[in-house]
């Protein structure tokens, strides 16, 4: 159980990937677009480098390196899932710079993906970023459009 000693009422998330932020409903996979995993937003990447959107700890990194789980400093679980069905690529051309248990700071490089390779394999590079512990937040606000890494793109309350 995570004990929230100092819970901020508002958490801001910085854009982790250079690209275009879109609503989660536009993700081409109903697991994400129907928010079965939680609420959040998605990015259409222009570049394959993924940076930490928030301070926290890596609580999970899938062996195929296509998904990272972060427990952020406010007790929110953040799932970054690079691409759709990318588990099938079995980690090829996915490079992780962190491992489970690492503490991370906002802006730290977490993952680098060869997006041309992913596209060449017929997979979507649309990357959902989802807040999986739904009971910990009430509302979410996202800012869509083209964003640089580090722009504030989401606020949770």
């Amino acid at each position: 159980m995570f004990k929230k000693l100092f819970q901020k009422s508002v958490t801001e998330y910085k854009n982790p990937i250079l690209g275009t932020v879109i609503p989660l409903e536009e993700v081409p996979d109903q697991v994400f677009s129907q928010k079965m995993v939680g609420d959040g937003f998605a990015i259409i990447p222009s570049d394959g480098k993924v940076y930490a959107p928030v301070n926290g700890e890596i609580i999970q990194i899938f062996p195929t390196k296509h998904a990272i789980g972060i427990l952020d400093e406010n007790g929110i679980e953040v799932l970054i899932h690079f691409g759709i069905d990318t588990v099938e690529l079995k980690g090829e051309n996915f490079e992780a710079f962190i491992q489970k248990g690492d503490k991370i700071t906002v802006g730290q490089l977490l993952l680098e993906v060869d997006i041309n390779f992913v596209i060449g394999k017929g997979k979507s590079i649309v990357t959902p970023i989802v807040f999986t512990n739904k009971s910990q937040y009430k509302s979410i606000e996202i800012h869509t459009g083209e964003k640089a890494v580090g722009d504030v793109v989401c606020t949770l309350k």
Partner: protein, 84 residues
């Protein structure tokens, strides 16, 4: 407690994990999926993904509460299916 061998080709990834979380909503009991020494709360997608289980791995489904038997059977059924 029900033991199941994972059939899903890519193991426990987002799609089967989300089906399990959704299925748990129908039950009141606490539901856990155990793999070797790790216990995951079946209602937490992060816990489920964190198990890192692959096709062929054996897991245990354990539920505790008023509808524990039905919950175990339902979750075991999903785990034993080949989803993708």
């Amino acid at each position: 407690m029900i033991k199941v061998v994972i059939q899903s080709e890519n193991g426990m990834h987002a799609r089967p994990a989300s089906q399990i979380v959704s299925a748990c909503n129908a039950y009141e009991s606490e539901i856990f999926i155990n793999h070797q020494d790790t216990q995951a709360n079946a209602r937490s997608i992060m816990n489920l993904l964190g198990l890192g289980i692959s096709k062929g791995d054996e897991v245990e489904v354990v539920a505790d509460g008023p509808d524990a038997d039905e919950a175990e059977q339902a979750i075991a059924k999903i785990l034993g299916e080949a989803h993708d």
